[in-house]
């Protein structure tokens, strides 16, 4: 009876979202292999960076990983994705600089990131569209980052999200108009009004 209960508990745990997170390294590695095969450089860079970061932070949930091999795979994907300078940079990085580099790759290539474009060129960057190898376990209220054309931040975003291509003028004209949120929607009320 005890063994039956233990098995049941194991199965329940295996089906829970906690199990999925615990297996993250294997899931990222499997997704990286598929993305490499599919020539999906963005997702491959994201998944390989995630595996390397987990190794760096000594938290990989999978043993026997070859750090050098995965680094070489990431360099290859960066090159094939047109990120030659970053591929060369990765070769010489160690310590905190390596960690920062991987974090940047994870942010910029995150397949869950979506960029909506509006007819005047305004960009709305948000990340609700969950497209990670791991199942989503959290609900968020999303505040998109909005970038208006002809600003320094706008150009920085275009550079950061290297996989994003701005539509042509003809294509932009067919897109919806951007509607700004009225400023008076900001409220401090109730128990928070004195903060």
């Amino acid at each position: 009876m005890k063994r039956t209960l233990a098995l049941l508990a194991t199965l329940l745990f295996a089906g829970s979202s906690g199990f999925a997170a615990a297996e993250s390294t294997s899931l990222y590695l499997a997704s990286a292999r598929k993305a490499e095969h599919d020539k999906n450089h963005r997702e491959a860079i994201y998944c390989l960076s995630m595996v390397l970061l987990e190794i760096f932070e000594h938290t990989p949930s999978k043993g026997g990983l070859n750090k050098e091999q995965i680094t070489e795979e990431l360099i290859k994907e960066l090159r094939e994705g047109g990120r030659e300078a970053e591929a060369a940079h990765l070769k010489v990085l160690t310590g905190k600089e390596l960690k920062d580099f991987l974090s940047k790759q994870i942010s910029s290539s995150n397949p869950g990131k979506t960029i909506d474009v509006y007819s005047d060129g305004t960009l709305s960057v948000h990340s609700c569209k969950w497209n990670s190898p791991l199942p989503s376990r959290f609900s968020f209220v999303e505040t998109p980052e909005v970038y208006r054309p002809n600003t320094a931040a706008y150009n920085k975003v275009l550079s950061l999200y290297w996989w994003f291509k701005l539509p042509t003028t003809e294509q932009l004209a067919k897109l919806p108009k951007y509607v700004e949120t009225p400023k008076n929607s900001a409220i401090q009320d109730g128990a928070f009004k004195h903060q």
């Binding site: 942010s107 968020f140 209220v141 401090q188 928070f192």
Partner: protein, 322 residues
């Protein structure tokens, strides 16, 4: 000296030393906390002075790695040195018993913020508050942290086995709920305003605070009411009609699309947002403004597409079905 304040101040200074772009959000936090440090003021002042020197050097065009590392080294040395200002480790948290609704607080938010959260839940419409008591007895917990970094340093972070990818998403949100069974919720008094940036801002600057608490609680209400956001045929049909109306519109507020259209949890988010709008419209205590949680859109902009869903919400709420 408050250990909570000391830990938050240390986190804030550490953040600044590794990412100069954290300013000005963290700078305000540091300035507000420094006067509270008592015997530790000298230690933190040394750390902050070196941090400011590093920032000034960088802002002036200085990029010499040796110089920058020297500043950082002095900051870390100040924070780690001496026992006179040893910061106690975080301990298991307080339990608030707030008019029948309990909250578990383990994240060292400021007293003001924690009290505002508790007061807000005390004053919720009675029907909703009664459901929260039932939820608490069934295992629901509500955590309030000063920053996402405090959450990352907590035992709960390990218990939940939060992955690196999940934390990257979490750190730029002020409030979140674990998906089904919706047993854990978080609020961060300060959080990062961009997924790729390192600027901290306050919850109340970014969110409509009372409505955000109501919004997260409505996720619990949705779950404990049988997940009508997914299972009520009328609500689902109204949601789909709203999405179609949004997609057919020639002008968009992108935040509406991000939360309710492209979001795989769009139905759940709409339920929680309409529920919060209803709750704040029926608060029963003066000083609360009818609102939705996000400052990125107005209720009118949302109801332009989702009027049918709003009508269903009002009917179900009035009959205490939801």
């Amino acid at each position: 000296m408050s250990p909570a304040d000391a830990i938050s101040l240390k986190n804030a200074i550490n953040n600044n030393t590794v990412a100069i772009s954290y300013l000005p959000g963290n700078s305000a936090i540091i300035s507000s906390l420094l006067p509270k440090m008592g015997d530790c003021t000298a230690v933190f002042t040394v750390a902050k002075t070196n941090m400011d020197a590093e920032i000034s050097y960088y802002a002036g065009g200085g990029r010499d790695t040796t110089t920058l590392n020297a500043y950082r080294s002095q900051v870390f040395a100040a924070l780690n040195g001496g026992t006179a200002c040893a910061i106690p480790p975080q301990t298991p948290g307080d339990i608030f018993n707030a008019n029948g609704v309990k909250y578990t607080n383990i994240g060292y938010p400021s007293n003001f913020f924690a009290n505002a959260v508790v007061t807000t839940s005390n004053n919720m419409p009675p029907n909703l508050r009664a459901r929260l008591v039932e939820a608490y007895n069934a295992g629901w917990r509500f955590y309030v942290y000063r920053t996402p970094d405090d959450f990352k340093a907590s035992a709960l972070f390990s218990t939940l086995k939060v992955s690196t990818a999940e934390y990257e998403q979490i750190r730029s949100h002020g409030a979140l709920t674990t998906n089904i069974p919706f047993s854990v919720q978080f609020f961060f008094e300060n959080y990062y305003t961009s997924a790729t940036g390192n600027t901290l801002d306050t919850f109340v600057n970014q969110q409509n605070a009372t409505a955000t608490i109501a919004h997260e609680v409505e996720h619990i209400n949705d779950y404990r009411s049988g997940v009508p956001s997914s299972n009520d045929a009328q609500f689902v049909a109204a949601y789909k009609a709203g999405v179609a109306a949004y997609n057919a519109d020639s002008s968009h507020n992108p935040a509406i699309g991000a939360n309710f259209v492209s979001n795989p949890n769009g139905q759940s988010e709409l339920f929680a947002e309409l529920g919060a709008y209803y709750d704040t419209s029926h608060w029963g205590v003066s000083g609360v403004t009818p609102a939705m949680s996000s400052k990125s859109y107005t209720p009118a902009q949302v109801l332009k597409y989702f009027t049918a869903a709003w009508n269903i919400m009002q009917t179900r709420k009035a009959s205490n079905t939801w």
